[in-house]
Amino acid sequence: MKATHDKKQDLALVEKVLSGDEAAAELFLKRYEARIFSFAYRLCGQRQDAEDLTQDTFASAFKHLKGFRAQAPLISWLFRIAAHRCQRMRRLKSGQPRRLVALDAPAVEGGPLPQHPADTRPGAEELLMRGEQKRWLEKAITLLRPEFKLVLVLRDIEGLSNEAVAETLGLSVAAVKSRLHRARMQLKGMLQS
Protein backbone atom coordinates (compact mmCIF):
# COMPACT_ATOMS: atom_id res chain seq x y z
CA MET A 1 0.00 0.00 0.00
CA LYS A 2 2.65 2.42 1.12
CA ALA A 3 4.83 1.69 -1.92
CA THR A 4 1.91 2.43 -4.25
CA HIS A 5 1.25 5.69 -2.44
CA ASP A 6 4.91 6.74 -2.61
CA LYS A 7 5.00 5.78 -6.28
CA LYS A 8 2.01 7.99 -6.99
CA GLN A 9 3.53 10.83 -5.00
CA ASP A 10 6.84 10.50 -6.81
CA LEU A 11 5.20 10.42 -10.23
CA ALA A 12 3.02 13.41 -9.41
CA LEU A 13 6.02 15.41 -8.27
CA VAL A 14 8.05 14.46 -11.34
CA GLU A 15 5.17 15.39 -13.63
CA LYS A 16 4.89 18.82 -12.04
CA VAL A 17 8.62 19.42 -12.28
CA LEU A 18 8.55 18.42 -15.94
CA SER A 19 5.69 20.81 -16.61
CA GLY A 20 7.92 23.66 -15.42
CA ASP A 21 6.31 24.14 -12.02
CA GLU A 22 8.97 26.05 -10.05
CA ALA A 23 7.39 25.27 -6.69
CA ALA A 24 7.57 21.56 -7.52
CA ALA A 25 11.22 21.88 -8.50
CA GLU A 26 11.84 23.67 -5.20
CA LEU A 27 10.05 20.88 -3.32
CA PHE A 28 12.02 18.25 -5.24
CA LEU A 29 15.28 19.87 -4.17
CA LYS A 30 14.21 20.45 -0.58
CA ARG A 31 13.00 16.90 -0.22
CA TYR A 32 16.13 15.23 -1.52
CA GLU A 33 19.12 17.59 -1.49
CA ALA A 34 20.12 16.96 2.15
CA ARG A 35 20.06 13.17 1.76
CA ILE A 36 21.92 13.28 -1.52
CA PHE A 37 24.56 15.62 -0.12
CA SER A 38 24.90 13.38 2.90
CA PHE A 39 25.22 10.29 0.72
CA ALA A 40 27.73 12.07 -1.53
CA TYR A 41 29.77 13.23 1.45
CA ARG A 42 30.03 9.71 2.78
CA LEU A 43 31.11 8.41 -0.60
CA CYS A 44 33.67 11.16 -1.21
CA GLY A 45 34.80 12.09 2.29
CA GLN A 46 35.33 15.69 1.17
CA ARG A 47 32.75 18.45 1.41
CA GLN A 48 33.75 20.14 -1.84
CA ASP A 49 33.66 16.87 -3.77
CA ALA A 50 30.32 16.04 -2.14
CA GLU A 51 28.90 19.38 -3.23
CA ASP A 52 30.14 18.85 -6.79
CA LEU A 53 28.67 15.36 -6.78
CA THR A 54 25.34 16.63 -5.46
CA GLN A 55 25.14 19.24 -8.22
CA ASP A 56 26.15 16.66 -10.79
CA THR A 57 23.50 14.27 -9.50
CA PHE A 58 20.67 16.79 -9.66
CA ALA A 59 21.79 18.06 -13.08
CA SER A 60 21.72 14.50 -14.39
CA ALA A 61 18.43 13.73 -12.63
CA PHE A 62 16.65 16.73 -14.14
CA LYS A 63 18.10 15.91 -17.53
CA HIS A 64 16.73 12.37 -17.38
CA LEU A 65 13.58 13.04 -15.39
CA LYS A 66 11.38 12.11 -18.35
CA GLY A 67 12.75 8.60 -18.10
CA PHE A 68 11.74 8.17 -14.46
CA ARG A 69 9.15 5.38 -14.30
CA ALA A 70 8.85 5.05 -10.51
CA GLN A 71 9.89 1.41 -10.63
CA ALA A 72 11.91 2.32 -7.56
CA PRO A 73 11.35 5.23 -5.18
CA LEU A 74 12.68 8.58 -6.36
CA ILE A 75 15.31 8.62 -3.62
CA SER A 76 16.68 5.24 -4.78
CA TRP A 77 16.79 6.55 -8.33
CA LEU A 78 18.78 9.57 -7.11
CA PHE A 79 21.11 7.36 -5.07
CA ARG A 80 21.77 5.29 -8.17
CA ILE A 81 22.63 8.39 -10.20
CA ALA A 82 24.88 9.67 -7.40
CA ALA A 83 26.64 6.30 -7.15
CA HIS A 84 27.27 6.26 -10.92
CA ARG A 85 28.47 9.86 -10.98
CA CYS A 86 30.75 9.14 -8.03
CA GLN A 87 32.31 6.19 -9.85
CA ARG A 88 32.85 8.41 -12.85
CA MET A 89 34.36 11.12 -10.68
CA ARG A 90 36.69 8.55 -9.10
CA ARG A 91 37.75 7.29 -12.53
CA LEU A 92 38.50 10.81 -13.70
CA LYS A 93 40.50 11.48 -10.58
CA SER A 94 42.39 8.21 -10.71
CA GLY A 95 44.95 9.80 -12.98
CA GLN A 96 45.51 12.53 -10.43
CA PRO A 97 47.51 12.11 -7.23
CA ARG A 98 45.21 10.60 -4.63
CA ARG A 99 44.21 12.71 -1.68
CA LEU A 100 45.11 10.46 1.19
CA VAL A 101 43.11 11.05 4.31
CA ALA A 102 44.67 10.03 7.57
CA LEU A 103 42.39 8.33 10.03
CA ASP A 104 43.16 11.00 12.61
CA ALA A 105 42.43 13.86 10.24
CA PRO A 106 39.41 16.03 11.06
CA ALA A 107 36.18 14.37 9.98
CA VAL A 108 34.79 17.77 9.04
CA GLU A 109 37.07 20.46 7.71
CA GLY A 110 37.94 22.95 10.40
CA GLY A 111 36.79 20.66 13.17
CA PRO A 112 39.00 19.43 16.00
CA LEU A 113 40.94 16.22 15.58
CA PRO A 114 38.94 13.27 16.78
CA GLN A 115 40.80 11.12 19.25
CA HIS A 116 41.13 7.44 18.77
CA PRO A 117 38.47 5.91 20.99
CA ALA A 118 40.97 3.40 22.32
CA ASP A 119 43.26 6.23 23.45
CA THR A 120 40.75 7.53 25.90
CA ARG A 121 38.40 4.80 26.98
CA PRO A 122 37.98 1.06 26.85
CA GLY A 123 35.04 -0.55 25.01
CA ALA A 124 35.02 1.74 22.01
CA GLU A 125 31.84 0.23 20.57
CA GLU A 126 29.82 1.16 23.62
CA LEU A 127 30.85 4.76 23.31
CA LEU A 128 30.36 5.11 19.59
CA MET A 129 27.45 7.45 19.86
CA ARG A 130 29.42 10.14 21.66
CA GLY A 131 30.50 12.98 19.42
CA GLU A 132 34.11 12.00 18.92
CA GLN A 133 33.28 8.38 18.19
CA LYS A 134 30.63 9.51 15.76
CA ARG A 135 33.20 11.54 13.88
CA TRP A 136 35.60 8.64 14.06
CA LEU A 137 33.00 6.33 12.61
CA GLU A 138 32.29 8.81 9.81
CA LYS A 139 35.99 8.97 9.01
CA ALA A 140 36.38 5.19 9.11
CA ILE A 141 33.46 4.83 6.69
CA THR A 142 35.20 7.06 4.16
CA LEU A 143 38.18 4.66 4.27
CA LEU A 144 36.18 1.59 3.30
CA ARG A 145 36.62 0.15 -0.17
CA PRO A 146 34.19 1.99 -2.48
CA GLU A 147 32.05 -1.05 -3.31
CA PHE A 148 31.67 -1.92 0.37
CA LYS A 149 31.09 1.67 1.41
CA LEU A 150 28.24 2.10 -1.08
CA VAL A 151 26.37 -0.89 0.29
CA LEU A 152 26.97 -0.01 3.94
CA VAL A 153 25.86 3.60 3.51
CA LEU A 154 22.69 2.65 1.66
CA ARG A 155 21.79 -0.22 3.97
CA ASP A 156 22.91 0.81 7.46
CA ILE A 157 22.81 4.59 7.25
CA GLU A 158 20.13 5.35 4.67
CA GLY A 159 18.04 2.43 5.89
CA LEU A 160 17.26 0.81 2.55
CA SER A 161 16.37 -2.88 2.57
CA ASN A 162 18.77 -5.44 1.07
CA GLU A 163 16.41 -5.73 -1.89
CA ALA A 164 16.28 -1.97 -2.43
CA VAL A 165 20.08 -1.71 -2.25
CA ALA A 166 20.36 -4.55 -4.77
CA GLU A 167 17.97 -2.79 -7.13
CA THR A 168 19.67 0.57 -6.70
CA LEU A 169 23.13 -0.79 -7.42
CA GLY A 170 22.18 -3.47 -9.92
CA LEU A 171 23.47 -6.28 -7.70
CA SER A 172 21.99 -9.52 -6.48
CA VAL A 173 20.65 -9.60 -2.92
CA ALA A 174 23.31 -12.21 -2.08
CA ALA A 175 26.04 -9.84 -3.31
CA VAL A 176 24.58 -7.03 -1.20
CA LYS A 177 24.60 -9.22 1.92
CA SER A 178 28.14 -10.35 1.26
CA ARG A 179 29.43 -6.82 0.68
CA LEU A 180 27.55 -5.53 3.70
CA HIS A 181 29.12 -8.17 5.92
CA ARG A 182 32.58 -7.43 4.61
CA ALA A 183 32.04 -3.69 5.04
CA ARG A 184 30.92 -4.12 8.63
CA MET A 185 33.82 -6.45 9.43
CA GLN A 186 36.29 -4.04 7.88
CA LEU A 187 34.76 -1.16 9.82
CA LYS A 188 34.70 -3.11 13.06
CA GLY A 189 38.33 -4.04 12.56
CA MET A 190 39.29 -0.40 11.98
CA LEU A 191 37.43 0.77 15.05
CA GLN A 192 38.81 -1.97 17.26
CA SER A 193 42.41 -1.66 16.13
Partner: protein
Protein backbone atom coordinates in the same frame (compact mmCIF):
# COMPACT_ATOMS: atom_id res chain seq x y z
CA UNK B 1 44.73 0.95 5.32
CA UNK B 2 44.80 -2.80 5.51
CA UNK B 3 41.33 -4.24 5.99
CA UNK B 4 41.20 -5.87 9.35
CA UNK B 5 38.91 -8.78 10.02
CA UNK B 6 37.68 -10.02 13.35
CA UNK B 7 40.59 -12.42 13.77
CA UNK B 8 42.85 -9.47 14.63
CA UNK B 9 40.85 -8.75 17.73
CA UNK B 10 40.03 -12.29 18.72
CA UNK B 11 41.81 -14.54 21.14
CA UNK B 12 44.14 -17.15 19.69
CA UNK B 13 41.66 -19.84 20.78
CA UNK B 14 38.91 -18.18 18.73
CA UNK B 15 41.23 -17.88 15.75
CA UNK B 16 41.71 -21.62 15.63
CA UNK B 17 38.28 -22.81 16.71
CA UNK B 18 36.36 -23.85 13.57
CA UNK B 19 33.04 -23.00 15.19
CA UNK B 20 34.24 -19.49 16.03
CA UNK B 21 35.45 -19.04 12.46
CA UNK B 22 32.05 -20.17 11.15
CA UNK B 23 30.16 -17.80 13.43
CA UNK B 24 32.56 -14.99 12.52
CA UNK B 25 31.42 -15.35 8.93
CA UNK B 26 27.79 -15.06 9.98
CA UNK B 27 27.96 -12.07 12.31
CA UNK B 28 25.91 -9.85 9.99
CA UNK B 29 23.28 -12.55 9.60
CA UNK B 30 23.08 -12.91 13.39
CA UNK B 31 22.73 -9.16 13.90
CA UNK B 32 20.15 -8.81 11.10
CA UNK B 33 18.21 -11.90 12.23
CA UNK B 34 18.88 -13.34 8.80
CA UNK B 35 20.14 -16.82 9.71
CA UNK B 36 18.70 -19.71 7.75
CA UNK B 37 16.76 -22.17 9.90
CA UNK B 38 19.35 -24.89 9.29
CA UNK B 39 22.23 -22.69 10.55
CA UNK B 40 20.33 -20.98 13.35
CA UNK B 41 20.38 -23.81 15.92
CA UNK B 42 24.10 -24.51 15.67
CA UNK B 43 25.02 -20.81 15.66
CA UNK B 44 22.88 -19.95 18.67
CA UNK B 45 24.14 -23.02 20.51
CA UNK B 46 27.75 -21.95 19.96
CA UNK B 47 26.99 -18.36 20.95
CA UNK B 48 25.49 -19.49 24.21
CA UNK B 49 28.83 -20.92 25.35
CA UNK B 50 31.44 -18.78 23.56
CA UNK B 51 32.15 -15.45 25.21
CA UNK B 52 34.51 -14.43 22.41
CA UNK B 53 31.77 -14.78 19.77
CA UNK B 54 29.25 -13.13 22.09
CA UNK B 55 31.63 -10.17 22.25
CA UNK B 56 31.86 -10.10 18.45
CA UNK B 57 28.09 -10.09 18.09
CA UNK B 58 27.81 -7.34 20.68
CA UNK B 59 30.45 -5.24 18.92
CA UNK B 60 28.75 -5.73 15.56
CA UNK B 61 25.35 -4.85 17.00
CA UNK B 62 26.73 -1.62 18.48
CA UNK B 63 28.41 -0.77 15.20
CA UNK B 64 25.24 -1.26 13.15
CA UNK B 65 23.19 0.76 15.64
CA UNK B 66 25.81 3.50 15.59
CA UNK B 67 25.65 3.63 11.78
CA UNK B 68 21.86 3.78 11.88
CA UNK B 69 22.05 6.76 14.23
CA UNK B 70 24.55 8.76 12.18
CA UNK B 71 21.82 10.72 10.44
CA UNK B 72 22.20 13.35 7.76
CA UNK B 73 25.44 15.28 7.26
CA UNK B 74 24.75 18.99 7.38
CA UNK B 75 24.80 20.43 3.89
CA UNK B 76 26.87 23.58 3.26
CA UNK B 77 25.13 26.92 3.44
CA UNK B 78 23.88 28.07 0.08
CA UNK B 79 23.78 24.60 -1.49
CA UNK B 80 20.06 24.88 -2.07
CA UNK B 81 20.42 28.24 -3.78
CA UNK B 82 23.28 26.99 -5.92
CA UNK B 83 21.31 23.92 -6.98
CA UNK B 84 18.27 26.05 -7.75
CA UNK B 85 20.32 28.52 -9.76
CA UNK B 86 21.93 25.67 -11.70
CA UNK B 87 18.58 24.11 -12.54
CA UNK B 88 17.02 27.43 -13.53
CA UNK B 89 20.00 28.19 -15.77
CA UNK B 90 19.58 24.82 -17.49
CA UNK B 91 15.88 25.38 -17.92
CA UNK B 92 16.21 28.96 -19.22
CA UNK B 93 17.11 28.59 -22.91
CA UNK B 94 14.49 25.86 -23.49
CA UNK B 95 11.72 28.06 -22.15
CA UNK B 96 12.61 31.19 -24.12
CA UNK B 97 13.47 29.68 -27.47
CA UNK B 98 15.04 31.64 -30.33
CA UNK B 99 11.80 33.38 -31.37
CA UNK B 100 10.56 34.36 -27.97
CA UNK B 101 9.76 38.02 -27.58
Amino acid sequence: MTPMGPQKTRSSKAKHCPECVKVGGKLSKVVDGDLKPEEKTATLKHLKHCSSCQGQVKAMTHLVKACQKLGVVKAPKGLHQRLKAMLMAKKGPEKKGPLAP
